[in-house]
């Protein structure tokens, strides 16, 4: 499978550089290039120990690069081909490649071949039709190989460096290119590396902190690159850095770095090398690679290689810088350039490809060469490095530089995201093709349901499942699906159709009870159908009979959603209802804490005021009809107050239940009422509640009885429903579920830490079970001033499909908006009740584990008292038999629920993925974001039972195994010093690191237990988009904002190095928005945003931006609003001034940096990961 190679990037560390860094943290990378060694012998030693293979690595490193570079090119090409569009996102590439491969084995080598399709457009067409690829490959290979070499030869040294730098800077957007470039660079460098490096280091260091990190490598690099680098950095610096760099370029470049890392892989991915190489690679890689590349790309490759760490970084950045802007251009260019247009490439990304190509080919048996597309990018990056170095250099280049791998050289999330946007954002995603990975969650795209569920409903970690468990075990890639059954769709997509099969109910397989779906094969002229899941044959009921056409399809196939769509709803019959009785319309019960704290912080008044209007917006299915959800009200402190709001009453009546030990509902009639009928009484009540308790002195509260009360009320009314609990303090009053303050920070980090996440008493578990049985979903709004034991209070919400909202130190003026928006959304959102979800799968795999907010009384049925449109369930699958490549793996998620109008419905989502017998296929069609979603949920659940350290270790270990497996089985041979990442997983390390250093797994001293428990529970219901941004916040440079355009400025990587003192940045992670203002931000900018030109006059306490009448202010507020609209929770805006106290909080979200809590920086972690991998491989 040549293709594999294409997918992968080669990642090369500049071990030598690391040596200098010394810091053990980076440990992993320690082993730097030989040069470093020599130079920093001691430093190396320090680092060295961990790395072990440091010395050997270095050389290989450099070599890998080249291959990497080669790979990159490969991917790019394919990209270009498939999407035609310039967007060269490595992933896409890989995917495409994968599919290509599937189609025909030839493609792999074709990978390069793709490259040839220099004509991107042409390429585009190719990807679509599976058949096409094969053809391409051959052609491409032929042409590409030669081309690359040529290109390399031509461009690499001269034009590249010279040209690239400028190019890179301009194109930050061209993230994709980066990735591609990265590889190329590496390739190029290897050859040159050793010698050149030495020189480079010095240069790099000065320019940038990052550079410093790489120094060793950079030096070596520079040796070869010197001219380029120097030229790059310098030229860019002056111009680009100050303005463009700080904000845009650097960040972008950073991302690009990542790609860079990936790039190294690309080489791997480069199928060609792989195939040919694998055997050889393993052993001979280092030497071979090193050797071949060098020769081939003495100048180019050599340096990059050597510097890999650094070079990569450097490349990355450049790439990034180039990439972003370039990305599209690049891709296009690369392909083109890579192929024919040497000059163009040179200027843009083109040039890189050439070098990359060259380097690769030699290394990887020529196949690489084809990959040139990417190469250009790579080369680009290289030049970029200098740039990078430059921008960061300004702030902290010096310190960081010496120790680190150049961050720009490692895979950049931004780059990948931008690539994906560019590649996949324009065309609708059709779900008809099995095993096709969807665009990333960060990409805007339209979905057309053609037989599989939309990725909005289901995302899988792997779209190519291993055929058997051995493979699965070997790869350690989690097989999971993240399912969001009631996900909202954008307006331009059709919601699932409602199918009614009449009185007998939905048609199902006799044996496994799977529902009618496109995977049912009709046979015997349509009289029977064979289940796609269990192969059982079932009679077709007469009223459902239909003839088949000549292809064996039912004639009415396209008239029936259940035969042609991936997602649809079924009407059910009374058999599907609890107690064989159609359900009553559900009810919403609002339970409001009116103890002293709640009254004082204003929540009582706010809630009551808001409910008056909010009650008009209860969810309904038909917007023209009144919602038939009934409402009820309860207030409580240490006793409960129920309210009779019957329409016939002149005044509401309050009924106090003090017998909290034995909760009951004191009234029947008049508690749950229709809003429209009882409006007057309800309003009177809501007016009076704040007054009644204004002078309360009651500080104690209960909690268990509150939920019991709601539950009993629903029981009495015989309906399902949702409780909205507004709670303020630890329930210490004497009652069931009474809690004590057990916050003990001394336990953090010990084996007993897990107890802090476990509920304090078992009462709530029992209660949750009862709630689920009744279909009573609990949403909890917390307003704590101190420890409230979220871990325990959250048990019921998280077991009933509810949500927890926490507003610590709630203050009405600043937090009201956030709370109200959350409340509004929570009340209004579509929700189903009393839901049971079941995932059926093809024989061969089985859903074995589930993550989310629900309860399970057996091993198969996920019971959700409430299921709203934000709730996500992550399901893990395991093999219990073999799967066949032919049929693929099918899964059907069926959710039986009561709609908000009281109808009993079934929602069906079908999903088919491919099966593979080659590991390479598996790695080619993965989705890192989804894997991270799974890992995070898995880890967050594990902290309940294991010490967090073990959890972290096992995460790292599994991740290392995944990557090692890839390296061992799929990547082209290269030196052990190379870090080779699968294209699809090149971001795995960075994201995993984010998970590892998250507050739950590695808390800082200032993180409360409640916060950790809260986040833990929060993450358990997140979908992929949410978990993505949660772990890798979105950071926008506002000074780059183009007021005229609707487009957002390209995000930058989450690192302090990417922040410019002159800039203003917006950071959001799904929970918070920060507006970071640099000390030397332009006055005009400040004037536009804050209405004041003076930095010192900006009020750090403001929670919303002043509405100023200038385009910038308007646009910025629009952006903030639109960002908020994307998230399920309203994000409070915090203004952070650079060097202000608050900045500490802000920095916490710069996840690529080292964190206060001891979390590793991205670079360090990557090195660590590499070390782990190498250990596994050795």
């Amino acid at each position: 499978m040549c293709v594999v190679g294409i997918i992968n990037y080669l990642f090369i560390y500049c071990w030598s550089c690391k040596g200098t860094r010394g810091p053990p943290t980076s440990g992993a990378p320690p082993v730097s290039g030989a040069q470093n060694y020599s130079q920093f012998g001691q430093g190396e030693n320090q680092n060295g120990p961990p790395p072990m293979g440091a010395p050997p690595q270095r050389p290989p490193v450099s070599q890998p690069y080249t291959p990497g570079a080669v790979n990159l090119p490969g991917p790019q090409h394919p990209y270009g081909q498939r999407f035609g569009a310039p967007p060269v996102s490595m992933q896409h590439m890989t995917n495409q490649m994968a599919s290509m491969q599937v189609g025909s084995t030839a493609p792999s080598p074709a990978g390069p071949g793709y490259a040839p399709p220099s004509v991107s457009q042409a390429a585009v067409s190719a990807p679509y039709t599976p058949a096409a690829p094969p053809t391409f490959p051959p052609a491409s290979t032929a042409s590409s190989q030669p081309l690359p070499t040529e290109a390399l030869a031509q461009a690499p040294p001269h034009s590249y460096y010279g040209a690239l730098p400028p190019v890179q800077q301009p194109f930050q957007n061209a993230v994709p290119t980066f990735s591609s470039a990265g590889p190329t660079q590496p390739q190029a460098p290897p050859p040159v590396s050793p010698q050149s490096f030495p020189q480079a280091p010095p240069i790099s260091q000065p320019p940038f902190s990052t550079a410093q990190v790489h120094p060793g490598p950079t030096q070596s690099y520079r040796g070869p690159l010197p001219s380029t680098q120097s030229s790059f950095p310098r030229p860019p610096h002056p111009t680009s850095q100050p303005s463009a760099f700080p904000a845009g370029p650097p960040p972008t470049s950073i991302p690009s770095q990542l790609p860079g890392v990936m790039q190294p892989q690309p080489p791997v991915s480069q199928p060609s090398p792989y195939h040919s190489g694998p055997p050889t690679t393993s052993t001979g890689f280092p030497p071979q690679v090193g050797a071949p590349p060098r020769p081939s790309f003495p100048g180019m490759q050599g340096p990059p290689m050597a510097s890999q760490g650094p070079p990569m970084a450097s490349q990355g950045p450049p790439m990034a810088s180039q990439g972003p802007p370039m990305a599209q251009a690049n891709h296009i260019l690369p392909t083109q350039p890579g192929m024919p247009p040497g000059p163009i490439n040179a200027s843009l990304s083109g040039p890189p490809p050439q070098p990359g190509m060259q380097g690769y080919p030699p290394q990887q048996n020529g196949a690489f060469g084809q990959v040139r597309g990417p190469q250009p990018g790579y080369t680009g990056p290289y030049p970029g490095q200098p740039n990078y170095g430059a921008p960061p250099a300004a702030p902290a280049s010096a310190p960081a530089a010496p120790k680190r791998l150049d961050p720009d050289s490692i895979p950049s999330p931004i780059q990948v995201i931008e690539d994906d946007k560019a590649n996949k954002g324009s065309e609708p995603f059709t779900t008809g093709v099995r095993g096709q990975a969807p665009p990333l969650v960060t990409t805007k795209f339209q979905v057309k349901d053609q037989g599989n569920a939309s990725p909005r409903y289901i995302r899988c970690t792997a779209y190519n499942m291993p055929c058997n468990s051995d493979m699965a075990k070997q790869s350690q890639v989690p097989l999971a699906a993240v399912i969001k059954p009631l996900a909202p769709l954008p307006p331009d997509e059709t919601p699932p159709y409602l199918v009614d099969h009449g009185e007998s109910g939905p048609i199902r397989c006799n044996r496994c009870k799977a529902y009618m779906c496109p995977y049912m094969q009709f046979i015997e002229g349509g009289r029977r159908f064979q289940c796609g899941f269990c192969n059982c044959v079932t009679e077709v009921p007469p009223n459902y009979f239909q003839h088949l056409d000549h292809t064996g399809k039912r004639v009415d196939c396209y008239d029936r959603p259940e035969l042609s769509m991936g997602s649809y709803d079924f009407m059910t019959t009374v058999d599907y209802c609890k107690n064989n009785k159609f359900p009553q319309p559900p009810a919403f019960i609002f339970l409001i804490d009116v103890s002293y704290n709640a009254v004082k912080n204003g929540t009582v008044g706010i809630v009551c005021q808001e409910l008056k209007t909010l009650l008009d917006y209860l969810p309904r299915e038909n917007p023209d009809v009144e919602s038939n959800i009934r409402v009820g009200f309860v207030t409580y402190n240490k006793v409960l107050h129920f309210y009779n709001v019957k329409a016939s009453l002149a005044q509401p009546q309050m009924m106090v239940v003090s017998d909290v030990a034995d909760m009951f509902v004191p009234l029947l009639d008049g508690f749950l009422v229709s809003v429209s009928e009882s409006r007057v009484v309800i309003e009177s009540l809501l007016d009076q509640i704040p007054e009644m308790f204004a002078d309360t002195r009651e500080t104690e509260t209960v909690f268990g009885p509150v939920i019991q009360a709601g539950l009993e009320a629903l029981k009495a009314a015989d309906c399902a429903g949702k409780l909205f609990v507004f709670h303020s303090s630890l329930p210490i009053a004497e009652a069931p579920g009474k809690l004590k303050n057990r916050e003990d920070k001394k336990l953090v980090g010990t084996d007993k830490e897990k107890t802090l996440f476990q509920p304090q008493v078992s009462f709530y578990n029992t209660l949750a079970k009862e709630c689920v049985a009744q279909g009573c979903c609990v949403d909890l709004f917390l307003f704590p001033n101190q420890y409230v034991d979220v871990a325990t209070l959250g048990v019921v919400p998280t077991s009933t499909g509810g949500s927890i909202y926490k507003y610590t130190y709630f203050q009405a003026p600043s937090d009201q908006e956030r709370f109200l928006n959350d409340l509004r959304r929570d009340v209004q959102k579509q929700v189903g009740f009393d839901a049971v979800m079941r995932v059926r799968t093809s024989t061969g795999i089985r859903a074995t584990d589930f993550f989310g907010a629900f309860y399970m009384s057996n091993t198969t049925d996920v019971e959700l008292a409430g299921l709203d449109c934000d709730k996500t369930v992550t399901v893990e699958f395991r093999h219990d038999d073999k799967l066949s490549e032919e049929t693929g793996a099918l899964m059907q998620c069926a959710v039986l629920y009561t709609s908000c109008s009281g109808q009993r419905r079934l929602r069906i989502h079908n999903m088919a993925v491919n099966c593979c017998s080659q590991l390479a296929d598996l790695y080619r069609n993965c989705e890192t974001d989804t894997i991270i979603n799974f890992f995070a949920k898995y880890a967050y659940r594990s902290v309940l039972s294991s010490p967090t350290k073990n959890v972290r270790d096992s995460l790292v270990n599994q991740c290392a195994q995944i990557l090692a497996c890839y390296r061992k089985n799929c990547a082209s041979p290269s030196s052990a010093g190379q870090l080779i990442l699968p294209e699809c997983m090149k971001l795995l390390p960075v994201y995993l690191n984010c998970v590892l250093k998250s507050d739950v797994l590695q808390p800082g001293a200032d993180v409360s237990l409640d916060d950790r428990a809260y986040l833990r529970q929060l993450v358990s219901t997140m979908d992929v988009a949410e978990s993505h941004v949660f772990f890798y916040p979105h950071l926008l440079p506002l000074q780059k904002l183009d007021v005229e355009s609707m487009a957002l400025p390209m995000a930058v990587r989450d690192s302090e190095e990417r922040l410019s003192r002159g800039g203003v940045y917006l950071l959001e992670n799904g929970l918070n928005i920060f507006l970071w203002v640099g000390v030397s931000a332009q006055q005009e900018l400040l004037q536009n945003i804050f209405g004041t030109p003076a930095f010192s006059q900006i009020d750090p306490n403001m929670t919303s931006l002043p509405a100023l009448d200038n385009p910038f202010s308007k646009r910025l507020r629009e952006i903030i609003e639109s960002v908020r609209a994307q998230r399920s929770r309203y994000m409070k805006l915090m203004v952070v001034k650079q060097e202000d106290k608050l900045e500490l909080i802000f920095k916490h979200f710069l996840v690529e940096d080292k964190s206060n809590s001891g979390g590793a920086s991205y670079v360090d972690f990557l090195c660590h990961m590499h070390k782990e991998i190498r250990q596994l491989l050795s």
Binding site: V639, Q651, P652, Q653, M655, V656, V657, L667, L685, Q688
Partner: protein, 740 residues
């Protein structure tokens, strides 16, 4: 000297006392031989319009275990300003305020006509009266409506400063907070869970966080304020409460077919009592329970909610087949004792066609002096007027009710008090005058009577302890002093002191005198009370046997047949009801209960009392029977025919019209004064309701001897009961034969 008849009447008018004997045998042995013990009926608050209360403290004997009140029987040395206690012979000096005392300037308490005197004393701040309504909502709509109206009406009858509270119950119990504006607030309890008083008070928010664990400390003002949420002055919450009552709904919980509504009477009462206990201990308060059915759940449950299981009957009880009886009775007794300890009384207004569990619940009223009213529906005048009459006022415009009374009895040395029977509980006060020989509630010389009306009458039994052969006691007279402290309805604390004295007589030498001093009526009632008291605690037949052994008097024939001792034809609830009233009414009323009064109206003369005998039932008479609980107007066969024919409408038969009207007017007069209002029955010969009459009369003519007696002489009664004639014959035989 007037006749004994006059003497007795005079004493009763002045002191409210009727003694069984007005000459007391001087030794224990002789007293025992008299069969009817030395005893008396005492009406502590007998209305005495002619007796203005004095505004000072009584003067007490200084001996610690005596403390008798200065009275006209005391020897007074006006010169030395010293008086001798006539009970313990302690010589006491007058307090300084009596310095001006002399033969011609005597304080009221020394004047013979003031053998009964009332003092108004200052003891602590006056506390308003408290009325706590406990209302069953498991009623028929019509009943509930009527009840709501009655309750609303009652608000206007309450003293303006009285505190009212409202508890409603059904499946659950709601304690309504009355102080809140705008929103009606109530505390709700489930009806199945027994709560300790402490829990109840906690749940009602009556407990202040114990600052320093002082217990038993009287509630500070702010605490009272807290409790005032539930008990508010009528004048303040009149409107609120009227609205609240107006909005009262039937218990909303569905009652499945074949089930009784779930009625949590037991818990409702325990909460009511717990509430008062926590807020106004030792203050006059009435808990007024209005219920329309038996308690069906929780502690105090009388019958399950399955309709197929009928409520217990006497039959079940005798067969020991009443599942909940003992438990429920025990539960309510415990409640009653708690209420009594705090001086709170409980009224029961039970209106339902079936039994409502009075048998079990009655002790609440019996022990606390509360009323019991039993009717068929709240929508009857019987209930409405009776209820209204609870709030009737006396000649001074003050309510005929008093609270928190304690009755103390002091006797001269030759007498000891054996016990009391009436709406009281023992205060367990031992003293020199307490007899070991208990009759009724004994072993004490003090009783608590939580609620008193001017009619409330206690029976007190004494024992003569003078030894045989000992000389007739010094002074020749025995004395008894009754000291009743109570809270007047105008919130004043008052003390009424009655001191009586009777001569001692040597039974051997003066037996005729003693015989002539016998008060037949008083004795009958006193013995009947003893009988009822025994009937309550012992098996029925045994009581009858005891009575037969004890007495051979005419009255007893009717007593034997009365519902006080007979349970035949009565439900347990009815028996309880009748007995309740019997042990608290004054002598006249009691006599009516024992032997109903029968008046006959005819053209032959003015209305005349006739024998309660079937022979009195004649076709041309109208009979008016008053059994205390029922008022029956019975039209003889001919009269009934005439009436049906409408003669009374004709001018020429004006006299017939008047004849018809006469018993109605008399009945009206009785209805006006009687509490509780009797069941008023207007019937005629052959009418179904005539049974009320027929069951009471002496069955001198029955289907057995019908022909022997001739048809025209009266109406035959279909019964196997013996007639008075047979009874007497038998009695005579026994009297002779069993004398051995």
């Amino acid at each position: 000297m007037a006749t004994y008849q006059e003497f007795i009447q005079q004493n009763e008018d002045r002191d409210g006392v009727r003694c069984s004997w007005n000459l007391w045998p001087s030794s224990r042995l002789e007293a025992t031989r008299l069969v009817v013990p030395v005893s008396c009926l005492y009406t502590p608050l007998k209305e005495r319009p002619d007796l203005p209360p004095v505004q000072y403290e009584p003067v007490l004997c200084s001996r610690a275990n005596c403390k008798a009140v200065l009275n006209p029987l005391c020897q007074v040395d006006f010169r030395a300003k010293i008086w001798a206690c006539n009970f313990c012979f302690q010589r006491n000096s007058f307090p300084p305020s009596y310095a001006g005392i002399s033969e011609v300037n005597q304080p009221a308490e020394l004047m013979p006509q003031f053998s009964t005197i009332e003092y108004i004393v200052q003891r602590g701040p006056p506390t308003p009266l408290i009325f706590l309504y406990v209302v069953d909502t498991c009623l028929e709509e019509e009943d509930l409506q009527a009840l709501k109206e009655s309750l609303q009406m009652s608000l206007s009858l309450l003293p303006p400063n009285a505190l009212v509270g409202l508890i409603t119950f059904g499946r659950m119990i709601q304690v309504h907070e009355l102080s809140c504006e705008g929103i009606a607030k109530s505390f709700v309890f489930r009806g199945t869970k027994e709560l300790t008083p402490k829990q109840i008070q906690e749940m009602l928010g009556l407990m202040k966080p114990a600052t320093s664990g002082q217990q038993g400390k009287p509630l500070a003002p702010h605490d009272t304020a807290a409790s005032c949420r539930f008990l508010q002055p009528v004048e303040a919450v009149d409107m609120n409460l009227t609205d609240l009552l107006g909005e009262l709904q039937r218990d909303p919980w569905p009652v499945p077919q074949g089930k009784r509504p779930l009625r949590s009477t037991g818990i409702a009462l325990s909460i009511a009592i717990g509430l008062l206990e926590g807020t106004f201990p030792n203050t006059g308060a009435r808990v007024m329970l209005f219920t329309g059915g038996p308690p069906t759940q929780g502690p105090g449950m009388v019958v399950g909610d399955e309709l197929k299981t009928p409520i217990r009957s006497w039959h079940d009880i005798q067969k020991d087949n009443a599942r909940h009886l003992k438990k429920a009775t025990k539960y309510y007794e415990a409640l009653a004792n708690r209420a009594a300890v705090n001086g709170h009384s409980v009224d029961i207004y039970a209106c339902a066609l079936d039994q409502t569990g009075l048998l079990e619940i009655k002790c609440l009223s019996n022990l606390t002096g509360g009323h019991i009213v039993m009717g068929d529906s709240f929508n009857t005048s019987l209930f409405k007027q009776t209820f209204q009459r609870v709030f009737s006022k006396d000649y001074n415009g003050e309510f005929r009710m008093a609270f928190g009374g304690t009755l103390e009895v002091k006797t001269s040395r030759e007498l000891k008090v054996s016990g009391a029977i009436g709406p009281c509980v023992s205060l367990n006060t031992k003293g020199p005058c307490v007899s070991d020989n208990e009759m009724g509630v004994g072993g004490t010389c003090q009783w608590k009577i939580c609620s008193l009306t001017p009619a409330t009458t206690l029976a007190l039994y004494f024992e003569v302890v003078n030894q045989h052969n000992a000389p007739v006691p010094q002074g020749g007279r025995g004395a008894i002093q009754f000291v009743t402290q109570y809270q007047h309805s105008n919130t004043q604390r008052r003390i009424r002191v009655t001191t009586i004295a009777r001569n001692w007589a040597d039974a051997q030498s003066q037996i005729q005198h003693i015989e002539s001093s016998f008060d037949q009526e008083a004795s009958a009632v006193l013995m009947a009370r003893l009988g009822v008291f025994k009937a309550e605690s012992e098996e029925g037949p045994d009581v009858l046997r005891w009575l037969d052994r004890q007495l051979i008097r005419l009255f007893m024939f009717h007593l034997r047949r009365s519902p006080f001792l007979q349970v035949f034809n009565n439900s347990p609830d009815e028996s309880s009801y009748y007995r309740h009233h019997f042990v608290r009414q004054d002598l006249t009323q009691s006599l009516i209960m024992i032997q109903p009064i029968l008046y006959s109206y005819s053209f032959y003369g003015p209305p005349e009392p006739v024998l309660l005998d079937s022979s009195s039932i004649l076709p041309d008479r109208i009979l008016l029977m008053d059994t205390f609980f029922q008022l029956v107007i019975y039209h003889g066969e001919t009269i009934a025919q005439w009436r049906k024919a409408g003669y009374q409408e004709m001018a020429e038969y004006e006299n017939f019209k008047q004849l018809l009207q006469a018993p109605l007017d008399d009945a009206q007069e009785i209805l006006q004064t009687r509490f509780p209002m009797p069941r008023y029955i207007d019937t005629e010969h052959g009418g179904s309701q005539a049974r009320f009459l027929l069951s009471k009369v002496n069955p001198s003519q029955t289907h057995n001897n019908l022909y022997a007696w001739g048809q025209e002489s009266g109406a035959p009664i279909l019964t196997d009961d013996v007639s008075l004639q047979v009874f007497m014959d038998h009695l005579k035989k026994l009297a002779v034969s069993s004398s051995a």
